[in-house]
Symmetry: C2
Subunit: 336 residues, 2 copies
């Protein structure tokens, strides 16, 4: 076992794009679990767009990370010591361990995961928060019906890949929006999307007209900005927009770009609804079982992009905002 | 009976604020009804913010008014000649007669109204399209529950006054946003709103914090722009925004201002949904009966601002966009 606990602590509230100096990279002794507690050795750290929002001050769906606090992050790891009857040494667990080598838990904020069901990284992706976000956002907010057209932005990301594949399983026509020809080819050829739009080289408005001749019934938005406006302009009567995120706006130093085309909601009797995955916690177990079944049946494919070394955290986080990852982005913590 | 038919025809698609030269004011012979037709003498012309949208080119919920066509408008009048068994001379009817003295109808696009139920102008206001818009937008889209906080903008207008009063009838706390101290006093003292915010002299963000301590459960938006953003910032968990109109944006020469605070939908799991009153046509009769009952019981007050003379049409229409009317704005057609 490692004999130190490296930690990334928030040092400053970022202005614009996150940078290494917004964190302090420190090291401390490995903590000892007290009565009822377990010591978890973090093996994988999840990188998620939402992390950018947690670094800002102000009211949101959860409190911001305080200056000096270990940066909040989803993690998967292994129980290294246990004073809790519910966990044995060697158990694999997922939770909110933060960007560090070790975390102490009272057992309430960690969940055992079964490594026979899927490799550990998948529990931070398709069978973790991003997968749950996709599943509940699409099915409970977007409510797609077979035969409808579903469009998803950030389509090659951890949430987008699941949204598109679940929509295909539900019998929808699926169009993904992603950056670059590689991602677009992968969405169509490997994941079975009906079409993919490369926003970096194509006119998204024109491409949506072409690929969604009957309009867009469900638009699952991970990006905001101009792409949200393009989707609004193509909404079908009674269409539903799921607001899951707005990665294009998170590092702005100017105000968020509001969707100029929002009056399309009126013209098309459409709706735009926000969702936060934590609201569905009670149903996660059921969703994981269904998604694992789809994975086993080959209907739901997962892909992880794994970067080695906890020390790479600030630069690895930036990959999200530069659109450099395909599938779920993770750090494999590795040795000190 | 008048011996000419004065008409306002659309002469140009307005750029920015509507002006008299966007219309042609012409006169023609009074038309003769053919078999199955009736001749309606228009007595009142309804002035509605939506008219500005109908003057623009492009896809919307109804086709635009064509250049050279009589300007579309809701009207109330009296059957002057009839070749249709369903209508007798002297019957009062409401419909889409347009900005003119006379209109020919086959009887399918006009509805008999009962002048004993309410004065004729009320059938263009509280018991007409604006009232129906308020009733169905609030109850079927906003779905307020007793005890919730409902905020309405354009609160002293034809739609807003009904939204606020119906919300009070349903047991809600009601806050209106309107322009000027007179309108605000009227909303609170005469219509029973719990509070009114004068957007011309108050900081709307601050006033909403004060008057909506538990947040806004339903926001009924008639105006868009900065006021929509202020309401978004105050939405309660699971709040609903009804997008009915955006009068602040209709005469823009720049793109519509999209709501910068739309990510409040995510944080608060809130929704923003567009509505068009025509979707509820089949239920109008039922709503009119219920609203007439409330009027009779003194729970629902109506107010009309009536300008004399068809010839005033372009300037009277502008009163809407300058916020000069209180209650339902109408033209009493008068003599040629």
């Amino acid at each position: 076992m490692k004999n130190e606990n490296r930690q990334f602590r928030l040092a400053a509230r970022p202005v614009g794009m996150v940078k290494r100096s917004d964190f302090e990279f420190t090291s401390t002794a490995v903590p000892e679990p007290g009565p009822g507690q377990v010591l978890v050795e973090v093996q994988y750290v999840s990188l998620d767009p939402a992390m950018r929002g947690w670094m800002n001050e102000g009211r949101s769906y959860i409190p911001p990370v305080a200056i000096g606090e270990v940066m909040r992050a989803g993690t998967a790891g292994r129980v290294a010591k246990s004073n809790n009857d519910r966990f044995a040494v060697g158990d694999y667990v997922a939770g909110w361990g933060g960007v560090q080598d070790f975390v102490i838990s009272d057992g309430k904020d960690i969940t055992k995961v079964d490594p026979r069901l899927a490799p550990l990284p998948v529990f931070l992706g398709t069978l973790g928060m991003p997968g749950m976000t996709a599943y509940f956002g699409l099915l409970e907010v977007g409510k797609p019906k077979a035969g409808e057209t579903v469009v998803v932005s950030g389509a090659a990301g951890a949430v987008g890949t699941v949204v598109g594949q679940v929509a295909k399983i539900k019998g929808c026509r699926v169009v993904g929006i992603a950056g670059g020809p590689e991602k677009c080819r992968w969405l169509v050829e490997d994941l079975g999307f009906d079409a993919a739009i490369d926003y970096k080289s194509e006119d998204v408005n024109k491409a949506l007209r072409e690929h969604c001749p009957k309009g867009v019934d469900v638009y699952f938005d991970n990006v905001g900005g101009d792409i949200l406006d393009a989707a609004l302009a193509r909404m079908a009567r009674n269409g539903r927009i799921v607001i899951c995120g707005a990665i294009s706006q998170y590092n702005n130093t100017t105000p968020v770009k509001g969707p100029s085309n929002y009056l399309s909601l009126l013209v098309n009797r459409a709706s735009m609804t926000g969702m936060v995955v934590m609201d569905y916690t009670e149903k996660f177990g059921e969703a994981v079982r269904e998604m694992a079944g789809w994975m086993k049946a080959g209907k739901l494919k997962t892909r992880e992009e794994i970067v080695e070394g906890l020390e790479t955290f600030p630069e690895t986080l930036l990959m999200l905002f530069k659109g450099e990852n395909t599938g779920k982005l993770l750090i494999k913590v590795g040795d000190a």
